[in-house]
């Protein structure tokens, strides 16, 4: 009997974030009957795509005990170069590739600072944020790049009925999920974030893995840069300011532990959706945009507190079970 209760409790705790999301969707659908319409859901997902992709990058970094404050700026840098490159060559594939390469290079510099020079990731990526934003602004002389022609297909086009940005998001979700769950690399990241010194002593090549994490983050940021610029239909050197915070928020709301070693892909996806739904419903029912910020902040705080509390209860119980075992 007790066993059963424990089990259901565990399930509750494990899926708490999905329960929150589900509850939110139900409440939202009552608040506005258009909320669950195909149109609106597609809209939410399109708006979410960039933030979610950035959130995965933040997630894998946080899990391995790091973070990236430069993703918004690197996104803009990669985006403006990519846009201009497209205007010069007319090749979508090469433009996408260039964005990815630029973002990966920036992230290799981040990795270099973090691993070889032992700079705290917070500082290293903060510096990169300034440098990348500066280069983007210098390169464009602060001017927006307009008339993107076909470039907008990434952010606004469809394949059949499905928007391309959503396809990107889904494919990336699957890849990240696969990496974190089904590769040795993914499993090692949890160990590195959980206790880096123990990971080294267990035979994990921490340095190499950190480079790979930053490289993956770079790929994600590059893709996000292309999606962002093509969605807004311009190369904005000043765009995506603070997007790293959106990514961080989605990852943290989704149960990624800021102290490292804990987090799941689907949790982060749920975190992104919670924020996306919140934004959307408040727009639909016409909440004042200043009030929106306040509500968002509060909801994020509540969601995280709930998540932490349910998890700490779980570990407390385990300790008691352990004591009982030992007393026998």
């Amino acid at each position: 009997m007790k066993q059963k209760f424990d089990k259901s409790n565990q399930v509750m705790q494990k899926y708490s974030i999905f329960i929150i999301l589900f509850a939110m969707i139900i409440i939202c659908s009552f608040l506005n009957k258009n909320f669950l319409s195909v149109n609106n859901v597609t809209n939410i997902m399109k708006q979410l795509a960039v933030g979610t992709i950035l959130a995965y990058g933040e997630m894998i970094l946080i899990i391995s005990g790091m973070l990236d404050l430069s993703s918004g700026a690197v996104l803009a840098l990669a985006g403006v170069f990519s846009v201009n490159f497209y205007k010069a060559t007319g090749s979508l594939v090469l433009a996408l590739l260039l964005a990815v390469i630029i973002a990966v290079v920036c992230n290799m510099v981040n990795a270099l600072m973090v691993t070889n020079f032992n700079t705290p990731p917070f500082i290293a990526t903060l510096a990169m944020q300034m440098v990348a934003r500066g280069i983007a602004l210098f390169y464009t002389q602060g001017q927006n790049i307009n008339q993107l022609d076909n470039y907008i297909v990434f952010g606004q086009g469809n394949i059949g009925p499905v928007p391309i940005s959503i396809i990107f998001m889904i494919i990336i979700t699957i890849i990240i999920w696969y990496i974190m769950r089904h590769t040795r690399f993914g499993r090692s990241l949890y160990a590195i974030g959980g206790n880096e010194e123990a990971a080294v002593a267990s035979g994990i090549n921490v340095r190499k893995n950190k480079y790979i994490v930053f490289a993956i983050n770079g790929v994600l940021v590059g893709i996000a840069g292309v999606l962002f610029m093509s969605r807004v239909n311009a190369g904005l050197p000043n765009g995506a300011v603070g997007y790293e915070m959106e990514g961080l928020t989605a990852a943290i709301v989704g149960g990624t532990s800021f102290s490292g070693g804990v987090g799941t892909t689907l949790g982060t996806l749920a975190g992104a959706f919670i924020i996306g739904c919140l934004n959307n419903i408040m727009n639909l029912i016409g909440v004042n945009s200043y009030i929106q910020q306040i509500v968002k902040g509060c909801i994020i705080a509540i969601a995280v507190i709930w998540d932490i509390r349910s998890k700490s209860k779980k570990s407390a119980k385990v300790i008691l079970v352990e004591e009982k075992e030992e007393c026998k």
């Binding site: 089904h182 590769t183 040795r184 949890y190 267990s202 035979g203 008691l320 030992e326």
Partner: protein
Amino acid sequence: MGQEIKLRVTGIDKSFPGVKALNKIEFAVRRGTVHALCGENGAGKSTLMKIINGIYKPDAGQIFIDERPVKIQNPIQARSLGIAMIAQELNYIPEMSVEENLFLGRLPVTKMGNVNWRKLRKDTLEFLKAEKLPYRPDQKLKTLTVSDIQMLEIIKAISNNAEIIVMDEPTSAITQREVEMLFKKIRILKEKGVSIIYISHKLDEVFQIADDITVFRDGSVIESHPAEEMDMDQVISLMVGRKMDNVYPKESVPIGEKLLEVKDFYQPKIFKDISFYARKGEIVGFAGLVGAGRTEVMRALFGLDHYEQGEIVINNQKAEIKGVEDSIHHNMVMLSEDRRRYGIIPIRSVMENASISSLEKFIYKGYAHEEEEKKTVAEYFKRMNVKTPSLDTRIQSLSGGNQQKVLLAKWMLREPQILILDEPTRGIDVGAKFEIYKLITELAKQQKAVIMVSSELPELIGMCDRIYVMNQGKITGELEKNDFSQEAIMKYATSIN
């Protein structure tokens, strides 16, 4: 030695949901004596000490100090009643100075309310002088050794005018010589009328220092007697509730050819001229004081630290070891002395902790075979008698002994040929120690080479086939089984070249 009772607890009960942690505890400590508490982990010693220190509230029962009933609500109150606790895991702030740590939480202030640094410096100097300790007040704590810090904790307790000092495993991280210093200190405290509650798994030390011994088991006091009326075997069998015939389950195993040979290992200022070997089926001990360089040699051998010169030969072939991966590749593994720092990944499950070094066994053909992983890990856990509520339990919630077994299981999964075990039984209880000894014996029987670094001489003498002794970064002695004695080892360990 006084007959007066300083601290008395009667009828203490404490339950946690589903567990009775303490059951009608009756227990008294005389003034100016050392009262040892013995018992396996989870027997209730720590819970009782936490009640005395005001961290937990008892469900029932009464505490008396100087035969007057007192209620202890929190540690601050305990401190004002003259109770001080020196925890097993020392609580200190490495980046702060000696003086700040000494007066942490009670820094002297001026009338204006800001810190009175001058008075702080003066008081600290006074204490350090009175205790004959050679530290500077502004020295950061991270520059001191564990035993230095422990001494400071003790001074801190005394500076608080503590009359009852609880010491939880005070010798788990210090060497024989430092233990003697600690005991000297304890004897001085006794003369001053201070009562000491001494918790330790090391029974030989308990018998050296204790006036009274109380044995706990399963949340109850089993027996409480003056130390001279008890002997070690008796205490052990009371603790575990069964007879322990043999503390060291050593079996003689045919010793084969050389598996590992280290030649002229050298790292400036850390160690030099280190040459040793280990053979199949052999348990090789490394004795020495803390700071003799044993751990440093092993870490360098395992690829965790750099070494400047030297040659490693494994299986008659020269081995190039630049990192842990190389060691693992050569089937050599190492269990670290610092379980928390280099061993466990606290927030991950016991299963992940066990499988982290053997992932290629469970992740292949492009995906993770979780069922296989569960089955294999569960098998190893069963064989090694790891007690855990489930495979998903976070390793941090297991006891030290079980954590250590999980970490051993991690390496066993790789089926290594050479095992370096650095302080494999530090801070774990008698029952778990015995199981680890049995495992080590089992490994030797499987013709593996085991290198065992330990600061507990009886353990080395009981388990090893050959012992190297290190002192100041050099190997100063090598003893064959027939020549083993604590005296011989200590002679080499302390000899000055």
